[in-house]
């Protein structure tokens, strides 16, 4: 099962973990991206995310397909939060279950790298001095 979504609400790690766990699996590996309070010495007060909704979901499903072509995993969930994300809260949760631990551990690492490379979502950092900057993921 592949679950992908782009939502405006606070992400719940418990619920997302439960949504992928399976009686035939021994492992769930999870990555949670959270908002940092600083960037190159500047204080970040909040992040604002926006997405090209349908294309973002389409690209996340492509990441799921690519994972399945490489690893034996059971369920995949990728939920990206958009809108304002306060410091310390999660902007993305990726959870993957697999019968054995190696597969989901490797897959979750690949998943976040690939999401950052191809899913059309944008992040703007707003600093304490009211300045702001659209970010760019590193290659």
């Amino acid at each position: 099962m592949d679950i992908v979504d782009v939502v405006e609400d606070k992400l719940k790690v418990d619920e997302i973990t439960d949504s992928v766990s399976s009686p035939s699996c021994g492992a769930v590996s999870i990555f949670v991206g959270t908002t940092r309070n600083n960037f190159e010495g500047k204080q970040v007060v909040r992040l604002e995310y926006e997405a090209y909704y349908p294309m973002a979901k389409k690209k996340m499903l492509e990441v799921c397909a690519s994972i399945r072509s490489q690893w034996d995993v059971e369920n995949i969930a990728m939920i990206h939060r958009i809108g304002v994300v306060p410091v310390k809260e999660a902007s993305i949760v990726i959870a993957i279950s697999s019968p054995h631990r190696k597969e989901s551990l490797e897959a979750v690492q690949y998943a976040i790298e690939t999401v950052k490379a191809i899913v059309p979502v944008w992040k703007k950092e707003i600093y304490a001095d009211d300045s702001a900057s659209w970010k760019k993921n590193k290659e």
């Binding site: 991206g33 995310y49 926006e50 997405a51 090209y52 349908p54 294309m55 973002a56 389409k58 990206h80 902007s91 993305i92 976040i112 999401v115 950052k116 490379a117 191809i118 899913v119 059309p120 979502v121 944008w122 992040k123 703007k124 659209w134 970010k135 760019k136 993921n137």
Partner: protein, 82 residues
């Protein structure tokens, strides 16, 4: 008429979320980009860093392509999700 979507910095520059434009029917990725910059000159400043998508697929290469009514183009500034 083709719908052209703006996101992030391009949306801020243009000041709107989308625009309906009449593109030449037979074209390429590079021609589309030139046409957009001619129609909306404010976008020239970011034209080197943006990608284009057509119907939710990246236009990576400059191959010939045909636009039809109802197609959705989008300007994709450097992404920063995750």
């Amino acid at each position: 008429m083709v719908k052209l979507l703006f996101f992030a910095k391009s949306k801020e520059i243009v000041g709107q979320k989308f625009m309906n434009l009449n593109f030449p029917k037979s074209t390429t990725r590079n021609h589309i980009l030139k046409y957009i910059v001619k129609e909306i000159p404010e976008l020239e400043q970011i034209s080197n860093s943006i990608l284009l998508s057509l119907n939710e697929e990246y236009l990576d290469q400059d191959c010939p392509l045909t636009l039809k009514a109802g197609d959705e183009l989008a300007i994709i500034p450097p992404i920063s999700g995750g």
